[in-house]
Amino acid sequence: MCRAGGTINAITVAEVSNMRIAIPVYGERISPRIDCASTFLVVEADGGTMRDVHEAPADGSSLKNLLGLLTREDIDVVVCAGISCEDRQIIETAGVEVNYGWIGYVKDVLKGFVHGRRGGSGWKADRDNRQPH
């Protein structure tokens, strides 16, 4: 168990240069749970641009498998939606930052992450695009 949410400071575009990011994906959207994902999108962010974008199959339910992917792809940050505290702590112990609580389309999440458009309390990305009732 860990602290709920947690405000994440905004980062500048310059600070994410040459950062390798892994995102669990489900179709065009970010996977609701990292441990249910079967595909990860690997992206190298260089300033405001993305390069070396490719998909990597991985069984998110196997932490060993996931850690193997993160090492193989030399990932700096995992950007995800739901993740259990124990999984997050283990990934962080392995030296990879976990930025969690994102939802929405992968392209919006990436844009939001790279441009530092992040809110607090684990709700990010398509906050403004909700359907009205």
Binding site: N9, C85, I103
Partner: protein
């Protein structure tokens, strides 16, 4: 006679009613967007109504079936209702919770399907208490994400179904009995008894009568027949803990049970036949005991058909966070508290400690911390003195071949990490860089800390 005026429910009343229900309730439209979210749903998932409304239900509920077998989708597609379907979710604060969910179609007064409704109940407490009462531990209760434990998990189901004798080796407090129980509960014998005996806890003569029972008149005071543990375990599993401590005489008797499946009770004249699976455990090196002539080699080879080595906690520190989480959840239930977790400083201290008493020691540390903790997070001052090193965390190391410039950079990072007790956010702020940059530099320069 006074006339009662009929009260007509207004729209707001439905919300009040839903909010008064103890189960989580939410509704979705045909596009899977949440259209209502009651108070219990907020409490169970941690997401407020404001956060949930308009979202895709899979992105708020975050269950293990959302991607692969969504119950609500199945209901919407087939019209079939699901009742008390077991799932687990990840709450807003990262806790995994077992739930039972039920789903049905949401129709208008004219019968038109406009969406679905799902109700869910938190089973965390029930599940914890049920398992504790039934001693019904499965492999899922043996926690560990380390590669050593994962390797054990992979072979355990096959071992459980094999019916062979198992020898479990591991230091005290590593959870050998939990493994033995899990093996039993996964085997064909699961509906028969599981009988545990600690061979080191009883003197030799008493242990013999405990294991094999006795007949009336076998010794002074034996005024009736008494069944032994082997008798009681017939059809099931007997777990002999600390097997390395039994005498030479008992070793022979045990060997006979293993070879011939029969034994004689103390004072008995006829042999008894039993169908028992034997699982043994020891914290001693039985091979070494055998070399020293203290343990029979024929018995050793009988017991060592399958050998499981349980690693000490110090060798699988990656499992500590998950164990801490499980202990917090258990103690919250047992002690009626609502502790959310441990502070980052406490986690670092607990990750550094070597745990000579293994998981049992971690359990004791957490129980003590629960008693002393006055807030919702366990801080370092709730930990025993021997666990907290003087001056807190100082285990930063630099390795690898570095250029002079990199060395200087590494030294600055190590010094600032030390000043900030390993706190990455504060270290990054002190260095004037972002936390992500710090992590990347630490990784590049080979700087690690617990």
């Amino acid at each position: 006679m006074a006339t009662m005026k009929k009260y007509v429910l207004r729209e707001n009343d439905y919300k009040t009613i839903l909010d008064s229900v103890a189960d989580g309730v939410f509704t979705v439209d045909r596009g899977w967007k949440i259209t209502s979210w009651n108070k219990a749903a907020e409490h169970i998932t941690g997401f407020s109504e404001r956060e949930a409304l308009g979202r895709l239900c899979s992105e708020v509920l975050r269950s293990n079936v959302c991607q692969s077998g969504c119950i609500l989708r199945r209901t919407m597609e087939s019209g079939r209702e699901f009742i008390k379907f077991p799932i687990d979710i990840i709450t807003k604060n990262g806790e995994k919770k077992p739930l039972s969910i039920s789903s049905s179609l949401l129709r208008t007064g004219t019968g038109e399907v406009v969406g679905g409704v799902e109700t869910f109940r938190d089973l965390t407490q029930i599940e914890t208490l049920r398992k504790a009462l039934a001693n019904e531990y499965t492999f899922e209760d043996i926690l560990g994400k380390s590669h050593q434990m994962q390797a054990l998990f992979r072979i355990l189901p096959d071992i459980a179904t094999s019916d062979s004798t198992v020898l479990i080796q591991g230091a005290s407090g590593t959870g050998k009995e939990l493994f033995a129980r899990a093996i039993h509960n996964l085997s064909r014998r699961k509906d028969r008894p599981f009988i545990g005996v600690n061979c080191a806890a009883l003197p030799d003569t008493l242990l013999e009568s405990e294991l094999f029972g006795y007949r009336k008149g076998a010794f002074t005071g034996a005024d009736g027949n008494k069944p032994g543990r082997f008798d009681l375990a017939d059809g099931g599993t007997i777990f002999l803990d600390e097997i390395g401590d039994i005498s030479a005489a008992l070793q022979i008797k045990l060997l006979r049970v293993l070879q011939e499946k029969q034994y004689e009770p103390l004072g008995g004249t006829t042999s008894r036949r039993v169908d028992v699976r034997v699982v043994t455990a020891t914290n001693k090196n039985l091979k070494e005991q055998m070399r020293l002539g203290r343990f029979r080699d024929d018995l050793y080879f009988r017991l060592n058909v399958i050998c499981l080595e349980i690693p000490p906690l110090a060798e699988r520190k990656v499992d500590i966070p998950i164990l801490i989480e499980a202990l917090i959840s258990r103690f919250n239930t047992e002690k009626q508290k609502n502790i959310l977790g441990v502070t980052p400083g406490t986690m670092r201290v607990l990750m550094q400690y070597e745990y000579p008493g293994n998981v049992r020691e971690l359990e004791n540390i957490m129980e003590r911390a629960f008693i002393l903790c006055k807030t919702d997070l366990i801080d370092v001052d709730c930990l025993p003195r021997e666990v907290v090193p003087d001056g807190a965390i100082r285990r930063t190391t630099v390795c690898g071949e570095l250029t002079p410039l990199e060395s200087a950079e590494a030294e600055a990072i190590v010094a600032t990490l030390t000043q900030n007790d390993g706190h990455r956010e504060r270290t990054a702020t002190a260095l004037g860089i972002h936390k992500t940059t710090l992590l990347r530099k630490m990784k590049k320069l080979g700087i690690t800390y617990p």
